[in-house]
């Protein structure tokens, strides 16, 4: 099986790759968004602490 045959997915390329792509995007966002929010929160709390302690 060569690459173009593989990408072609027996004529179902659109359906198969959209399914896998959508899954990848949504699973990535579910990882990235909370991780980023946590870093931002800790940075914010650190700033607050620094400004309090002078």
């Amino acid at each position: 099986m060569n690459l173009s045959e593989f990408l072609h997915m027996g004529g179902y390329a659109f359906y198969v790759w959209t399914s896998y792509g959508l899954t990848a995007v949504i699973m990535f966002l579910n990882y990235w968004l909370p991780t980023r929010r946590e870093q931002q929160l800790i940075r914010k709390l650190k700033r607050l602490q620094d400004s309090k302690s002078g």
Binding site: S19, L29, T35, E38, L41
Partner: protein, 250 residues
């Protein structure tokens, strides 16, 4: 055993537990995903009836499985919050909702992308599809409720009650393909004694489900940890934790 559980119901110990567990669960999810994807796209042979389009099963079934599994976690964590009033269980329940909604959405969209070439329709009002759509609305209702109520305790209680009432939908989704004779195909793996799927197709599916499970547990813990830090921001242990963080203060 009980002492251990009670200990980790305290926000600080829960935080420490997550720090230890989440990276390992994340790594396990990554490794399983790589193996599972290889199995899904290369190892498994094409279906004799559906051709290559059947490969959608490897994202569709794990997503659908997770949509129901996460809902049960939400309901159990919500019930635990109602009974013991523990902050950690409320945080876990709230953290389940966006993950569950995401997987329900994926189950519906990948199902639609599979239905179009196989059934000739993006959507049919079949019992399985309709009950899964109701599950999505339950998740969205739960999320809306959480953002509508300012008081965290109240929001958690109201959400838990909604989640518990909605549990009735789970067996309906599961048995819908047996109770009603519809377009959606019957169960593939739940009859473990005699699965109606070839072993070469089944193994990647089981690996993908395991990968999605590890992914969910890692991220529900990370989300709950974020909730806990937000709630406990003025407590001494969070203040100390923030101090230990690397990075220059501005």
């Amino acid at each position: 055993m009980w002492e251990w559980i009670i200990k980790f119901a305290s926000p600080m110990h829960f935080y420490m537990l997550v720090n230890r567990l989440a990276p390992w669960l994340g790594r396990a999810a990554g490794v399983l995903l790589v193996i599972g994807l290889y199995g899904s796209l290369f190892y498994a042979p094409a279906d004799y009836q559906q051709g290559e389009s059947f490969r959608i099963i490897y994202v569709h079934v794990p997503s659908a499985w997770m949509s129901m599994f996460i809902y049960m976690n939400l309901a159990v964590a919500g019930a635990a919050g109602l009974i013991w009033k523990t902050k950690v269980s409320d945080a876990i329940a709230r953290s389940c909702a966006p993950l569950g909604a995401s997987f329900t959405f994926l189950a519906l969209t990948t199902g639609s992308l599979w239905g179009k070439p196989m059934w000739g329709a993006w959507w049919v009002w079949d019992a399985r599809l309709t009950s899964e759509l109701i599950l999505l609305f339950l998740y969205l209702g739960y999320i809306a409720l959480q953002s509508a109520i300012d008081d965290r305790r109240m929001a958690a209680r109201a959400g838990a009650i909604l989640a518990l009432v909605g549990v009735v939908n789970i067996p309906i989704i599961h048995y819908s393909v047996i109770w009603w004779n519809t377009l959606h195909q019957g169960p593939t793996i739940s009859k473990l004694d005699a699965p109606s799927i070839d072993t070469m197709m089944l193994i990647p599916l089981l690996i993908m489900i395991a990968a999605f499970m590890c992914y969910f547990f890692a991220l529900v813990l990370v989300r709950a940890r974020l909730e806990i830090i937000e709630q406990e921001r003025s407590s001494k242990w969070v203040q100390e934790l923030v101090l230990q963080q690397p990075g220059q203060s501005v």
